[in-house]
């Protein structure tokens, strides 16, 4: 431990004016001492993340996904020309967590809002961050038509299979048999139909050019998710059309599981219904291995 010091990375704070001042003690930034003057950064808070504490429950994967968004925005040098659109759900306060211009949209309407932004500012990078209730239920029409128009925006769908913020009700994505507060006997497809696989559903639309599903249940999956997210962002930067990345996420509180079990449940059960991988890539692109 004596070889390690904790220190904030100056420029991240200076350039992100308006962000809370970094306290070295509370900073997650860690540097390794390589000599008296030489330090090599091995892990740092991305400049795209503020230091605000999130409201997420223990074991929730929103934090990891936020970080991936921030890392990719930074790596593609997009932080200063990005407009993000948050939505209603657990991630409603994302505008506090990401250090870019942010708009908070009405429930389900993020892709209509993103459309308005992108049509006014076509050279800006525009993404939405939405839950499954938001994007796949109340906002289905906005999602389908933004994709059909080939809006040059990127949708990030965080699918945990329940309405988390309102306390764990059945979502359009809830797996058959899964118990929620509004499907107390387990979701019965005879009564409530079947879960929607959004990327597969959108895949027939010409305007939707990059559709993928990832998860963040392990470091390996996190790294893979980051590559996928970067490709989705690049699709927008190249003006190819609409892109969407679905993250299979956990909700330990509403699933009534401990965080580790929740991740294992994704890996063993959820992926059976929601297969991971790239569902659609632009013509001429090689799918990720």
């Amino acid at each position: 431990m004596s070889q390690e010091v904790r220190e904030s990375r100056g420029p991240a704070v200076e350039e992100g004016a308006g962000v809370q001042t970094t306290s070295p003690k509370s900073s997650l930034v860690r540097e390794r001492e390589g000599g008296v003057d030489q330090k090599k950064v091995v892990f740092a808070r991305p400049r795209g993340l503020t230091e605000a504490h999130t409201i997420y429950c223990p074991g929730c994967t929103h934090g990891i996904i936020h970080r991936l968004v921030a890392e990719v925005l930074e790596e593609l040098d997009l932080l200063e020309r990005t407009v993000g659109v948050g939505s209603i759900g657990c991630s409603v306060l994302i505008y506090d967590y990401l250090n870019v211009d942010m708009i908070s949209a009405a429930h389900g309407r993020a892709l209509a809002v993103a459309t308005g932004v992108k049509r006014v500012l076509p050279d800006r990078f525009v993404f939405t961050y939405q839950g499954d209730g938001d994007l796949a239920s109340i906002g289905t029409a906005e999602t389908v038509h933004a994709a059909a128009r080939g809006e040059r925006v990127t949708a990030i769908l965080v699918n945990n299979g329940v309405y988390g913020m309102t306390g764990g009700q059945m979502a359009p994505t809830t797996l058959p048999g899964m118990r929620t507060t509004t499907s107390p006997a387990g979701r019965d497809p005879a009564l409530t139909g079947f879960p929607i696989r959004m990327p597969e559903m959108l895949a027939s639309l010409e305007g939707a050019v990059y559709l993928a599903r990832v998860t963040v249940t392990s470091p390996k999956e996190v790294l893979r998710a980051k590559r996928v997210l970067k490709r989705a962002f690049e699709v927008q930067l190249q003006g190819l059309g609409f892109s969407l990345v679905e993250f299979l996420s956990s909700c330990p509180i509403n699933w009534k599981m401990d965080p580790v079990d929740a991740l294992r449940y994704i890996e063993t059960e959820v992926v059976k219904y929601y297969p991971l991988g790239e569902i659609k890539v632009p013509e001429g692109w090689k799918p990720l291995a």
């Binding site: 308006g18 942010m102 908070s104 309407r109 006014v120 906005e142």
Partner: protein, 362 residues
């Protein structure tokens, strides 16, 4: 600047007036009797470097407005009452987030799908709101096709000045009729206000901007609402606008807006020819309501009575009564369901009121 006189349909005038007011972005969904606004702008906006986009629903169009307004643009949509019903969620968000946008609402018969004939039964819907929360929408009402031009310019200016949505309340008659308008040959230069609050990307210049409507702490939300209320109070103090006709010596004051304001004026002329001193007050701003002028008239000893003339079963009359505060009797005459009252009907109704209220016949 050289001007030219052309014949223009009301709905096309809304489109051209928006372009002249610096609007370059339109998002909307077809609905009769206003569809020509969209058709006109689908041709016109690309000519001036703007964007016309047909949305999948009114719900989507108002949220596209929300995004475009957040990005700093002058932006508009147009619809009819049924569409405005779907937009109420978005209008509440625009008001809460303090985003400027203009919504042209061309009223037709209701409730439900009703019919496509001219009506004014969506007065309450536009003026009193319908979205959730303590908010107000500025509402303007032109009375003729030529008046659409200054009213639309005012709509965009007020929207930007107060960072608030503005509804321009039209009806199927004004939208569909043609009148000569005089417009400048060339478009005025774009001279739009700076919007440092807009979410355009930080571009290295400033801290991030956030456009939002959520305030999770009750005290914080109350502070936000009180600040909005102060803004509305300022709007009520500074922006009341109306037109008047022959009110100097009027004993009977007809109050009407939009199409009915013109019919009311024609009725007042007939009434005067028959010895009844009638005048007309036509609100141009329905919110803020021209309460000041109406109260002045109510306090005037010469005024015996008010009569609202509406294409509804009595909506405007409620605001006139609130403004008059019982100082003078306020009567109502209206037809509904898409029927435009005839001049004779209005004159007869006014004569009945005049007789009942002791308005002298000279």
């Amino acid at each position: 600047m050289p001007k030219r006189k052309i014949l223009m349909k009301g709905n096309e005038a809304y489109g051209e007036a928006a372009v002249r007011a610096g609007c370059r972005f339109y998002f909307g969904y077809p609905i009769t009797p206003q569809t020509e606004v969209a058709e006109y702008l689908s041709r016109r906006l690309p000519e001036v470097g703007g964007v016309f986009l047909q949305a999948e629903s009114e719900t989507a169009s108002v949220n596209m407005l929300y995004g475009a307004a957040a990005a700093g643009a002058r932006v508009m949509t147009s619809t009819s009452g049924l569409g405005l019903a779907l937009m109420q969620e978005g209008i509440s968000y625009l008001a809460g987030a303090e985003l400027p946008a203009v919504i042209v609402n061309t009223m037709r018969g209701g409730p439900g799908i009703g019919n496509i004939a001219p009506a004014q039964a969506d007065y309450r819907q536009a003026v009193k709101g319908g979205g959730n929360g303590d908010y107000r929408t500025i509402v303007l009402a032109p009375t003729s096709v030529p008046e659409i031009f200054p009213v639309m310019e005012l709509a965009f200016d007020l929207a930007d000045r107060y960072r608030n949505p503005v509804i321009v309340l039209s009806d199927g008659m004004i939208g569909q009729m043609m009148e000569p308008v005089e417009i400048e040959e060339e478009l005025p230069p774009l001279d739009l206000p700076e919007k440092p609050w807009a979410t355009t990307g930080t571009m290295g210049r400033r801290p991030k901007n956030v456009i939002k409507t959520d305030y999770l702490e009750p005290e914080e939300l109350e502070r936000h609402n009180l600040r909005l209320a102060e803004k509305y109070a300022q709007i009520e103090a500074e922006e009341q606008r109306w037109k008047e006709f022959a009110l100097e010596d009027a004993e009977l004051v007809l109050v009407a807006f939009g199409t009915m304001a013109r019919l009311a004026q024609a009725a007042a002329e007939v009434l005067r020819s028959r010895g009844i001193a009638a005048g007309v007050l036509a609100p141009i701003t329905l919110y803020p309501f021209p309460t000041r002028r109406i109260r002045e008239l109510a306090d005037s000893p010469g005024v015996r009575s008010f009569l609202t003339v509406e294409m509804s079963l009595g909506q405007l009359v409620e605001d006139v009564r609130l403004a008059v505060e019982g100082r003078k009797p306020v009567s109502f005459f209206g037809r509904t369901g898409g029927i435009v009252p005839t001049l004779d009907e209005i004159v007869t109704a006014a004569e009945d009121v005049a007789a009942e209220r002791g308005v002298r016949s000279r």
